[in-house]
Symmetry: C2
Subunit: 218 residues, 2 copies
DNA sequence: CGCCTAGTTGAGGTAAGTCAATTCACGTGG
DNA sequence: CCACGTGAATTGACTTACCTCAACTAGGCG
């Protein structure tokens, strides 16, 4: 897998890696920094699909698609490695196990999008934001960047709003409520879990969809 | 691919094919009838992730996952073929092209979930339902079960509500409005596009994410 | 120092939810 | 054949969660 990463690149924060509608067949692995993928609406609003943190694959969704149906933007400065798709395809042919692992990674990504869908479709704003902060925490903990105490989080309240299908104003109110209830504090680019267990219960957070076990290989 | 389908089965309507939390590693291809996959919330509400219609793969998302993170339920009586996952994996090793095609299918499924996410996160109820009816129409047209005139749709307003993140009462009101505006009629298990172009414009429907071209093979 | 972006708070509006009553279609048993 | 039960659709009255607009504060930086 390492041999596939032939080109390392660095991007500034707030830059577009891929524009919506563009057809770049490039896959990245995030080394440091945060990235988000999103879809723009004709009316100018945008929906953030998910965030990528160090260790995540980027652009898997549109590797096989003729047009990229969503944009990708850096949240912070970001270091990534490029993977040429045709190289990856060749590797699949030689090492089917890599194909299966990549497939697992795609399944995990989709499971997160599905949970995101449930989040927006069926949870109130407060539970939704709480659930989201917990999910980020669990993901970052896997790569050593977080714990049940908290984690560094470079997102603005606007990012949060675009991700949660809420207005930035309402996100602010929700964060205040969560803080005043003594569950979680989001401030100065840092998330602090003031009471992890109560928060997890409140948000009905069940991390099993993150499937921390890894792929079930035959 | 045909040789993989070793076992044909039939299910009555309203039956669970897979329970949420179960760990069945079975993949199905739908031959006739409609199926939906959903997630239940602890409070009893449910979010339908998507519907499967004839020609669709079923259960791809949880093939590599240790636990199935969502349930699958028949909407109508349904005929499916079983695919044993270990057979599929063996086939991947022998025919990488099949792996790529399956991967494309998974990407398409995810693109639909993403569009669904945008639908719920950023569109008003009326546009949302309109967009959804158009997407179903486009998918059914691909397999010869629909056209720009309309299609048979066995869903109840409760299904629609669970899929759209709305209440059944509100779905009813929205359908009435769309009908009275002369855009689309949903009645007696049939969708009639009274004015397809106006509806598509109203819902800002862009079917490119359905990627009707098929996988980009090397 | 002044500008810009992010965050904060209040007031008032609106889309969608809940509860409840009614109708309708359909099947089933007396 | 009709009485009855059941699930779906329909509609009204009222409530609420979230949005919009708007004003203001606090930091970072040329």
């Amino acid at each position: 897998m390492d041999r596939l990463q032939n080109h390392s690149r660095k991007f500034a924060s707030g830059k577009n890696l891929v524009f919506q509608g563009q057809s770049d067949q490039i896959l990245y692995i995030v080394h440091s920094g945060w990235v988000c993928s999103y879809k723009l609406q004709p009316d100018g609003s945008r929906q953030i699909i998910d965030f990528q943190v160090p260790g995540d694959l980027l652009g898997l969704r549109n590797v096989l698609f003729n047009i990229c149906d969503h944009g990708i933007e850096t949240v912070t400065t970001v270091k990534v490695s490029e993977i040429i798709v045709s190289d990856l395809m060749d590797t699949f042919k030689k090492y089917p196990r890599i194909a299966i692992a990549t497939f697992w990674s795609a399944s995990r990504e989709e499971a997160m999008v599905v949970e995101h869908l449930v989040d927006i479709g069926r949870r109130g704003a407060t539970e939704r934001v709480a659930h989201f902060l917990l999910e980020l925490g669990a993901r970052l903990t896997l790569v050593g960047l977080g714990s049940k105490v908290g984690y560094d989080c470079p997102l603005t309240q606007f990012h949060l709003a675009d991700a949660m299908g809420l207005s930035a104003v309402h996100v602010n109110r929700v964060l205040r409520q969560l803080r005043e209830d003594g569950m979680v504090t989001f401030r100065n680019s840092h998330v602090t879990f003031d009471n992890y267990d109560r928060l997890a219960e409140f948000a009905e957070f069940d991390p099993s969809y993150l499937d921390q076990e890894g792929p079930l290989l035959q």
